[in-house]
Symmetry: C2
Subunit: 357 residues, 2 copies
């Protein structure tokens, strides 16, 4: 019995009930476009295949709502996630929907979360922030009548909001290329807790294409991919300079402002000035970017949170003529500050005196 | 009836039931040390005086729990609050208690929150982070059987965890005094949304006493109190230098690292180097402090969140022999980095060339 329940998917329900996957999902979600007879048939099938699951689906079908949404974030203490939570909470609060917050770190946490949440039917929907949800988890939630929206990352399977990471990378590196830079280092980062999640790989593609458009070949000795964090970026920056002593970079593209701040510490400690000796650009417009005169590709994460919350409210109250999952791309803008400038004249070597700032 | 309910306090219940305030509170909270007969009498009185309120108290008394805690924060996107949420969520999740997150900004939000939360009896307890709760609000929650714990701020009325703000200020300024500084500026900040909340005033007292211990009179032209935020601190720093051109400060004490980062921008833009031309110290050990070589008084906010969560679990599951509300003071440590050094030799004027970093 346990095995059967563990492997049960929405497809199984649909096949057994003799309906399409879409119809099965809509029936179990009490969504539009399904007749009462069809819904009853699907619910009966779900009940037969998995008696633990079905009472909740029935409860949902009867219109019972918890008026609560779960927000799943990997790291609430980081700026990006805090801004996202801020935007989501603001919109949901105005709609009288309460927000349950879950920090879900690595794969184990994730498994625990997805196995426990629907069993207790605590929420009507889940917002996942920069976080992978696999097909089985997704179907399990849908079977429970729990909707999903993704924020801060792209998902083919459900509504999402994020920036165009490719354009963000392209915009940052195009800016450096326009200033004359050709030796451009890149510090990328991934979340070690989310293996396999293609976190912001578009930013690297933007870098590669911006260089290609300028006729510059990618030099892998100028690229590092680190576990997320400013101190790791600081170490990577040291590493790049140690490895490329003959022909060091004149500019750095960091995948986020927090990474850029780490790289800047290394560059400052090596006696370099911005932008006379080296230029650096990040992504985000973290509040500290303005305080450190860092050029960046600005995104409004709070606004993305607000959009995610509106997508969730749409999922909870679907409009009859609405179509497939919606994808919203939030705007980005280049914000030029004092950390970027023309490529330095290399006839004069960079200053060597150690400076603290 | 509305008027009566609006003005009803725990004291009214206690007086009508002929018991002490403590006994009334314990009875309504189903807490220790109250006989069944007394509890029944108090509940009956509460029911008679306010029929809307009492069913919830009865439900609590019968052992019904929501297994949810409300977390009330003014600004979840700021580092301090994010760390606090992180610590609280981690401990509550391990105890299978869910966390409802509410951002409560100004006084209006606050009134709305406290009037709506108990009416729907959504949670067993509330954690308020750096946020005032007045006597009427507190009694209203207690009457509902909703416990309160405060984090990041001191409260005489209920359990709390925070650092010793006086010691933090003292430690920061003593460090500067030991380095020979006597002209020490201070940038304090308050939250404009929380008027009347004595937010971190202890830090200013620590500054005053550290100066007094060194035989230095307070110079009000070196002190600014700003609305919270790095950019406001940057403006305040400019203001201090503009006002004190003849005898400028040789060091700056900022009430938090984010304020210090703002002040550092101004000082960098005025061509000053750390610590050769000026020293600066903050409070927090914000992750960016390590990336900007900022000396700071470190506090672990995450740990305070964990402690707050344990205090809440104690409130929900009181031990029979436990006494009055508990107060926990979290440790602080001076973390010396490159932003502080000996008082500069003023025979040589500070560099005037503008530098970006």
């Amino acid at each position: 019995m346990t095995d059967q329940r563990g492997s049960l998917s929405l497809s199984d329900i649909a096949r057994e009930a003799g309906v399409s996957l879409t119809t099965a999902s809509r029936a179990l979600n009490n969504s539009y476009g399904v007749s009462a007879a069809t819904r009853d048939k699907v619910l009966a099938t779900a009940r037969r295949l998995d008696y633990v699951v079905s009472p909740d689906a029935v409860r949902l079908a009867s219109g019972s709502r918890t008026q609560r949404v779960a927000l799943v974030v990997p790291h609430v203490e980081r700026w990006f996630f805090g801004e996202m939570v801020n935007g989501i909470e603001t919109v949901l609060a105005a709609a009288n929907v309460d927000l349950l917050l879950y920090q879900v770190g690595g794969p184990e946490d994730r498994q625990d979360f997805f196995s426990r949440l629907p069993a207790r039917r605590k929420v009507d929907a889940v917002v996942v922030v920069a976080f992978p949800v696999d097909r089985v988890e997704q179907e399990r939630l849908e079977l429970m009548g729990v909707g999903i929206v993704a924020a801060g990352g792209q998902s083919a399977a459900y509504p999402y909001v994020c920036i165009d990471d490719y354009q963000a990378g392209r915009m940052a590196v195009d800016h450096l290329v326009e200033l004359g830079h050709r030796r451009i280092a890149m510090i990328a980062a991934h979340d070690p807790d989310q293996p396999g999640w293609p976190m912001r790989s578009g930013r690297s593609e933007g870098y590669v294409d911006a260089l290609a458009a300028a006729g510059v070949a990618v030099d892998n000795s100028l690229i590092r991919d680190v576990d997320w964090g400013g101190l790791n970026a600081a170490a990577a920056m040291d590493d790049i300079f140690d490895a490329a002593q003959g022909d060091p970079p004149t500019a750095v593209f960091a995948h986020s402002d927090e990474l850029a701040l780490g790289a800047m510490r290394t560059l400052r400690r090596r006696g370099m000035r911005f932008p006379e000796d080296i230029s650096i650009v990040g992504i985000d417009d973290h509040p500290v970017a303005a305080l450190t005169d860092l050029t960046t590709v600005r995104q409004s994460v709070r606004e993305q949170g607000e959009i995610a919350a509106r997508l969730i409210l749409d999922v909870l109250n679907p409009v009859a003529d609405e179509g497939a999952p919606r994808a919203v791309t939030a705007p980005i803008t280049l914000t030029v500050r004092a950390s970027t400038g023309p490529v330095p004249n290399r006839t004069r070597p960079p200053a060597q005196a150690t400076r603290d700032h």
